[in-house]
Symmetry: C2
DNA sequence: GCAGAAACGGAACAGCGTTCCGTATTGTCT
DNA sequence: AGACAATACGGAACGCTGTTCCGTTTCTGC
């Protein structure tokens, strides 16, 4: 939602009155990104604070909910994914193929972020904002692709974009460090299942 | 794994030397089942202890890992599900239809157990035994159904039973209290996606 | 009844997210 | 430059988890 964004692109809120605050916020984002890679997005807040060389209070001042920090770290990648949707749709292939490619993009993103998929669907209230951000950003794109595919007669299942996105997200849970579980293959089957039988 | 099972069906371990211990174990199972319905399988241990009128120590003596308690509560239902597999296969329909029906059974079970699906795929080490129990019990059944369907030429995807079961389980996460997410429909699409294109 | 074994209860510990407040830093105004 | 708010900081403290530990109670076989 709102935030006291610094150079973070599309924000309008005042970029904080003090230099040290801005610097700390940037340091925190870097540290969080690094820790997320190592220990997953559920890493202890204290670890992130330690890595950034600040106190835990500083984290909560800049990112009141843990979800805000996660969103800030991954915002660019989520936005890039969202923007890839229309591009794929315009790039020649059939709408169903574009949908498949777009979903692959999303799966690749999720699978490489240890624990993100799990956090995304945690029923912990603290993650509501994270859930909402992903939904807000990606569901409309998915909906557009779905509508195009339906319009082209390639799919007929009355599935909603929200449901499909949640299903894909769920399939990505725990998809790292288990060689016997390949989320990409299962998501592929799910997308295949959408196709109109002919 | 092993346990000091009381009247719990297929156990062979000694049924405990003392009457109060047996009674407490039974009380604990009842209390846990009740609390799981109300608050989900991740309910605080203290809540279960309080409901049963015992101390937390007593829980840990009977069920050293939290997973052991969950397994004990749901063992009968999981076994029933496992046993339904061969029955469905023998009951007339095509193997693919039997697979679909069996998976529906599993999904119905999971979806009605608040938080079970999530616990099942938690990477928390304490839930390893739970994970292992479900896998041990259900993967062979699923494998049988899958093989039969492949033998009948109905599916050709080289998917493993383990992967399919995990996918189905993942799709069931958070499937309660969200009217916009119907795990059954998504699992249906996944199973449809298995079918050989012809 | 009486050991002694078995089981109990809950205090105590460790690890987590989050809040709070005394202290330090910064920007500004004179 | 000096001083005074305003702002931000650090980390102790709180409340909630799961889990362990041990002094006390209860049972069982003799």
């Amino acid at each position: 939602m709102n935030d006291s964004g610094d150079g973070e692109g599309t924000e309008r809120a005042a970029p904080s009155r003090r230099k040290d605050a801005r610097r700390n916020k940037a340091t925190l984002l870097e540290a969080a990104a690094a820790v997320f890679v190592t220990s997953g997005v559920e890493a202890p807040v204290r670890d992130i604070a330690a890595r950034a060389g600040v106190g835990v209070g500083t984290i909560y001042r800049h990112f009141p909910k843990r979800a805000d920090l996660i969103i800030a770290v991954y915002r660019h990648q989520v936005d890039a994914c969202a923007e890839a949707g229309p591009a794929l749709l315009a790039s020649g292939a059939t709408p169903h193929a574009a949908l498949r490619q777009w979903i692959d993009l999303f799966v690749d993103f999720l699978v490489t972020k240890h624990g993100l998929a799990a956090a995304l669907h945690s029923d912990d209230a603290g993650f509501d904002a994270l859930h909402a951000y992903f939904i807000d950003r990606l569901v409309p794109v998915c909906s557009e692709l779905l509508t195009a595919a339906a319009g082209a007669g390639e799919i007929d299942s009355g599935i909603e974009a929200y449901e499909l996105m949640r299903g894909v997200g769920n399939l990505c849970i725990g998809a790292d460090n288990d060689p016997r579980y390949d989320a990409r293959r299962l998501v592929g089957l799910l997308v295949t299942g959408l196709r109109r039988p002919r």
